[in-house]
Symmetry: C2
C-alpha cells in the first residue's frame, strides 16, 4: 500500500513520468524502499483510475511518448491524510534468524561462519550510506528543498542506526557462540542418542508443558496490541 503514497509524495514535488519516478526511487529512498519499473507503471494507472493523479501525454516522434503524471487535489488530500496517520508496524521476516534458531544442528564453526558473513554483508551495505547522505543533500540543493533534505537525512540516519545495531548484535552473538560448548552442536544431539526414539506424541506433550492453557504470544495478538493503542497524541 505504501508504494501508492510514495508515488503521490514524489508527484507532490513535481509532475513526472513513470520512468523518472523510478529514478527518484533509486536515488533517494532506495535504502528503505524499492520499486520495480513494472510496478510503478501499474500503480500509476491505478492512481489515475482513482483520480488521485492525472496524466497528460507529451508527444515524441523518436521514442515512446512521455506520459507526465501530476497529483490532483484529491491526491494531495489523501497523501496528507495518510502521512498524518501512524504507521502500522511491519511484520519482521528475518531469514538469518531462522538459520540461527535452527542452527544448533550445524557444527558450531559452520554456524559462526554464517554469522560472520552476515556481519560482512551488513558492513558492505553500511558503506553505501555515505553516498545516500550526499544524495539527500544534493537533491535538496538542486530542487531548492533544503527543508525537505533535513527530514530526508533523518531517514538515512534510521538505516545507519538499524545497521549498526545489527552489526553489534551479530558480533555479540558470535562471541557468545564461541564461548559455548562445542559438544552441544552438530546434527546428532546427545540427548537424542540416550533417549528412546522420538514418537509422534512428543510435540504434543511439549506444547502442553510449555503453554499450560496460557494465552500465547501470537503475531495476531501482537498486531492487536500494537494497533489497538493508537489512541495517543494524534487526532
Amino acid at each position: 500500500m505504501s508504494l501508492k503514497y510514495a508515488l503521490l509524495g514524489f508527484l507532490n514535488y513535481y509532475p513526472m513520468t513513470g520512468y523518472e519516478l523510478k529514478k527518484f526511487f533509486d536515488t533517494s529512498v532506495a535504502h528503505f524502499w524499492n520499486a520495480e519499473q513494472s510496478q510503478i507503471y501499474s500503480a500509476l494507472k491505478q492512481l489515475e483510475g482513482e483520480d488521485l493523479v492525472e496524466m497528460h501525454v507529451e508527444a515524441q516522434t523518436d521514442r515512446p511518448n512521455r506520459k507526465v503524471y501530476s497529483i490532483t487535489e484529491d491526491g494531495r488530500n489523501e497523501l496528507l491524510e495518510w502521512l498524518a496517520t501512524p504507521a502500522e508496524p511491519e511484520q519482521v521476516r528475518e531469514p538469518l534468524l531462522i538459520k540461527l534458531f535452527f542452527g544448533r544442528v550445524l557444527p558450531r564453526e559452520r554456524l559462526i561462519a554464517v554469522m560472520h558473513s552476515q556481519v560482512a554483508d551488513l558492513r558492505r551495505i553500511a558503506e553505501t550510506y555515505g553516498e545516500a547522505m550526499e544524495m539527500t543533500h544534493k537533491f535538496g540543493v538542486a530542487a531548492g528543498m533544503e527543508k525537505d533534505a533535513q527530514v530526508w537525512a533523518l531517514t538515512v540516519e534510521a538505516s545507519i542506526a538499524h545497521h549498526r545495531a545489527g552489526i553489534a548484535w551479530a558480533e555479540d552473538a558470535i562471541a557468545k557462540l564461541e564461548r559455548m560448548d562445542d559438544d552441544g552442536f552438530g546434527a546428532s544431539y546427545p540427548k537424542e542418542e540416550d533417549n528412546p526414539p522420538v514418537d509422534a506424541r512428543a510435540a504434543r506433550t511439549i506444547l502442553e508443558m510449555v503453554t499450560e492453557g496460557k494465552p500465547q504470544l501470537r503475531a495476531s495478538t501482537l498486531a492487536a496490541r500494537t494497533t489497538k493503542g493508537d489512541d495517543h497524541d494524534n487526532d
Copy 2:
C-alpha cells in the same frame, strides 16, 4: 522460501501435524517470523511432493484425522545445507520512513505525533520480549533441548537490540524535528510560492543536476554488492 526451511527445522525436532507446527511458530519464532495456518498446510503438501517430509495418517473418529509429518533423510540434508548458506539480505520496507521522508508537507507537530506513535508502538512490542525469552527457556526444559535454547535466546536478543535501536533513533529524530524551524513545514512551501509555477521539466532538470551521469545507488546495485562478496570463510 524460508518458511519451507522453518518447517523442516521444526520437524527435525519432532514429527508433528500442521496444526501443531502453527503453535510452534506462534510460541517460539513469532518475534521474527509469522506463518498463517493455510500457508503451513500448502507448504507441507509441497514439501511432501519433494520428498523432504513424509506423512502418515493417524485415524480419529471424532475429529479430522491427524496428518503427522516427519522429516526425511533428504529433508534433513537439504535443511543442513540451507542452514550453512549465508542469508541473503532482506529488502527493507519501512512505511514509517516513507511518512517521514515526505513528512515535511505536514505541520511539524503532526509529523512529530506520528513519530511519537511509532515510539509507543515499538515500546509496546518490546514489552513482549520478556515473555518470548521465558518461552525459549521453558521450551528448552520441556523438550530437553537446553543447548538449542541458548541459540533461541540469541534470536530474542536480536529483536530486542533491533527495537532498542529503533526507539533510540526515533527519539533522536523527534528531538531534531523539535529543533527545526516551524516555518519550513506544512503543505505550502515558501519556495514554491515565490517561484514560477512548476513545469513538467523540473524533475528532469533536477535528476540531471543530481546524477551527472554518475552510477546510481540502485537496489539492484546494492544486491549485487552484497551477494557478490560471499567469498569469505564459508565453503
